[in-house]
Symmetry: C2
Subunit: 558 residues, 2 copies
């Protein structure tokens, strides 16, 4: 399919516009490239975007992280880019389409109930036409489904379901349909290799208040599952049934008129990691630290003539050697020089750049281990960095430390804590066009709710003890260089349980050649020295003699 | 009326509980002591509280600002205090009353439509009984209503109403009922002396989409007004009519079933001060600075044997001499020694304390001038302060400076900026049980929406250029001393209009004897020195020779 054929179809059917969002029937979860209609139509490969095709034009809406990348990937003669940093999508719709009664087609398996509601209230005069003839269910692709063992999860599926029925009963429901694949995976203690980076089992679970449940999935993936095309008949009978309208495809609301919205409690339950999960996550971070340090030592000796793609492959090869390794947790971002300024850069054969002196390599990567998920960004000087790079890296480091060492009252939400990190950068009239942090799953999605440390997340959930989050401020100078410093942390109470704070998980040294200590306060210097001391103690017994010598230098006090 | 008679009435009528909130038919606005049923029943004089009387008990719900004060004022044998810092009122209701079908009586002129809704959804099994036999309309009390002149407001009432009809038409309404007295006052450019501190005209305005309007008020206050008891017949005829359900008494929803909720746009319009208003506010702050400095000079020579009440009276006498003075903007808080730890302290003949060495005086006061409203808190050492007082004052000052010198993206809300101020205190595991800042009216309420710099204001509006806010972090050590440092600021864009910052309005020196400069960064020292330089330049020509000498010392660089 291409844009022209979409437009021909629109003309034939007398429809004003066709809406494409990124997704499949598991809304807000990762998708395969083969399911990505926006990639197919525009060549844009970012993880977020909205495409609106009218009979004569095509608009791609992209956020701040993808402004540079979209310009590189998309044919701008055919597709007009709209920056969401200048106007929100719904405001744009209101401005351009609210005057006249338009018709807009959409895929009812990919547009959620809540999204359709928002579209309808934004354009009250519009008619929305679900296009149902397409193949909307997931295609089978030799998926292996496996159990996530009790030694990693602490609780077996039966106990989780019994816990969840308390929520169902409290809400006065007969049944609840779990439509988030990562929530289904958590509830069933099942995982799969359906996706390259998120080990989730793509299934719905229908749980009754008495604890009995049915799993809906591709039959080929999981023999006990009921195929998705039987969902309607299984839903019809309930008088009091709910699902989360943010993750439920709008078509499902037609299956049962009694279906109401209740936020999926599993999103909260799974975000708070239990003692076994936290222990696993800590262990996974030690192994991940070992793998990355071995790689960084190798890089320090071997960067010459290596490309960004070589770098990503070499890093993966070190991680693969570690216990419990399953996969990367997302496509490694290895951006050198100018490419480091592209927030979500992925090297393609065309853009692939050879590492050489004197600039920075921005390396954002992570892994799925059976006992935990990692996500870390380091910005590494190759050769001699410029004074500007050192100054900006030090500033981003101040931002990172400001939030990482914060103490905050319980009930504080993600958006309420975001400015703590931006503060040092904003004081220099600088900012970064992405969030400050995201929740991280336990051998699950590397981006997980219910909170987000972002000024855009106006309804973020509160941060609670046991949650895992990234802290990742950055600075990006287009066509020059980019900086990001990211660690994962878990949230824990202070001595006074009314206050919370962060405890670090990531154990990988910062590049001191990019730090100007004269721009730091003594508290900030202490933070870095203490962190490096902890890194050294945690990793030292897993390294070769040469690697250890290298780490000792990396972790020596400033 | 006393609690016993309320309980007798409950038993007679077989009602489980009676709810009292602070207010009259102008919900969320100031009230007279004579209208304050909670004061009458419990002797609690705070500006916020909820009283719930059951047949056998009475519960007073108070927030962090009033925990100490309530203990002092209320007879704890008769009234049980519930701290809202430990449990929210609605959570308390759910815990205590959700199991059984109770009946609860309330005054439908004092409980808003939105509050009643929240009560009903919190206790779905409860029956709510409006008590209508009471005298619910305001009693006449020789009110003088007067015009707020164009030279202060820039826009005449006719233009404001015409502006407002655009909002009415945009919402597809025939008419809008303005029920907030301060919004009515702004729209009509009318003020009154009905209240001691807020110069607002207590009226409703019914505006039609064609621009015609009707004013509802006590006839004795304003001869052109329609009495409130004719409101029903004037509202009945509209098919499309709205009001703000947060400020509209619940009884009014029974006057017209078509009445729907739309947030009152005047709350936003009046919060953004125009050029004339801002100029007036700046001038008012110069005069207020002169008055307070003259007082502080007097205090430095004459504190001996003076009481807290003497202090408040003397300060008022200096303000009264200034041009355009109308009244204080709230009851002065002059708390000495232990009393300074009571966040909203008001000296009574019983508590009135004589100033003596060596402690601190917390002085929170402000004035209504025709051209602007002021609100300032200074903590002043009397004699030699303790090292702890100096350390904590310096810490609160760091908190104040952190927020006052922040740069933040537009669309940032009040709750998203609050932690910037708390950060330095929280790092020492300290906090203050009140908000960090509130909007301030223009010759209107000293507390004004739509935003609030507070972690409790989860739905705060964004901060916008032209808004005026206080910044007022504090520290309170019960039975020892309290610190608060408050200035007013207006919000303005930086060179980059995507970023906003604060510009100071208050011009009164900080007490340097309470500052330990070795705990400050160079940036913080520069902030203080620049501020004192600005104070000195702004005030110097309005002081006597002796006062000027004193100010010079106060404003000399640290």
């Amino acid at each position: 399919m291409d844009i022209k054929s979409v437009q021909l179809e629109l003309k034939k059917q007398k429809i004003t516009a066709r809406l494409f969002t990124l997704g499949n029937m598991f809304i807000n979860e990762d998708i395969l490239d083969s399911e990505n209609r926006i990639l197919e139509l525009t060549n844009f490969s970012g993880s977020y975007g909205i495409l609106l095709v009218t009979q004569t034009k095509a608009y791609l809406f992209i956020d701040g992280r993808y402004e540079i990348q979209a310009t590189r990937e998309v044919n701008l003669k055919k597709v007009e880019l709209v920056k969401l940093s200048t106007i929100g999508f719904f405001d744009w719709l209101k401005t351009n389409f609210s005057k006249t009664p338009i018709t807009m087609s959409y895929n009812p398996w990919v547009i959620s109930i809540s999204y359709l509601k928002k579209l309808s209230s934004t354009l009250p005069k519009a008619t929305f036409v679900p296009i149902e003839k397409e193949n909307l269910l997931l295609s089978p692709n030799n998926v292996k489904v496996f159990t996530h063992a009790k030694k990693f999860t602490k609780y077996i599926s039966k106990d989780k379901i019994s816990d969840f029925t308390r929520f169902i009963k409290k809400q006065g429901l007969d049944a609840y349909l779990v439509t988030s694949a990562s929530n289904s995976s958590w509830l069933l203690n099942l995982r799969s290799n359906a996706l390259p980076y998120s080990p989730i089992f793509r299934a719905y679970v229908l749980v009754e208040k008495n604890g009995s449940y049915k799993v809906f999935a591709n039959h080929s993936d999981y023999p006990n599952a009921i195929p998705f095309n039987q969902l309607k008949e299984h839903l019809e009978k309930y008088e009091k049934i709910a699902s989360d309208n943010k993750t439920t495809p709008s078509i499902i609301s037609s299956y049962n008129p009694n279906l109401i919205h209740k936020p999926d409690e599993i999103t909260n339950l799974k975000s708070i990691k239990n003692s076994t999960e936290l222990k696993g996550i800590k262990n996974a971070h030690i192994r991940d630290g070992v793998a990355v340090c071995k790689f960084l030592y190798w890089l320090s000796k071997n960067y010459k003539d290596k490309t960004e793609i070589d770098i990503a492959e070499k890093l993966l090869s070190y991680r693969k050697k570690e216990l419990n390794f399953h996969s990367e947790s997302f496509a490694t971002i290895a951006g050198f020089g100018e490419n480091s300024a592209v927030i979500h850069y992925h090297a393609t054969p065309k853009s692939n750049t050879t590492i050489k002196k004197n600039s920075v390599l921005l390396l954002d990567s992570g892994a799925q281990y059976l006992d935990g998920t990692t996500d870390v960004t380091r910005t590494i000087a190759i050769g001699t960095p410029t004074p500007d790079m050192i100054e900006k890296n030090t500033l981003v480091l101040k931002s990172h430390i400001a939030l990482a060492s914060a103490i905050f009252p319980k009930d504080t939400t993600g958006n309420e804590i975001d400015l703590i990190a931006r503060y040092p950068l904003l004081k220099q009239h600088l900012n970064y066009e992405h969030g400050t942090g995201h929740g991280v799953g336990h051998f699950s999605n590397v981006h997980e709710g219910p909170f987000s440390i972002s000024l855009k997340a106006k309804h973020s959930a509160p941060l609670k003890p046991g949650m895992v989050t990234s802290i990742e401020p950055g600075y990006y100078k287009e066509k020059a260089f980019g900086i990001r410093i990211e660690n994962l942390y878990y949230i824990k109470p202070t001595k006074n349980p009314a206050f919370l704070t962060f405890e670090v998980l990531t154990l990988i040294p910062l590049d001191k050649s990019l730090i100007n200590k004269y721009l730091l306060t003594q508290d900030e210097i202490n933070f870095i020295n203490n962190y490096h001391h902890q890194v050294f103690l945690s990793l030292k017994k897993y390294l070769t003699k040469q690697e250890l010598e290298w780490l000792k230098v990396c972790c020596a006090p400033l």
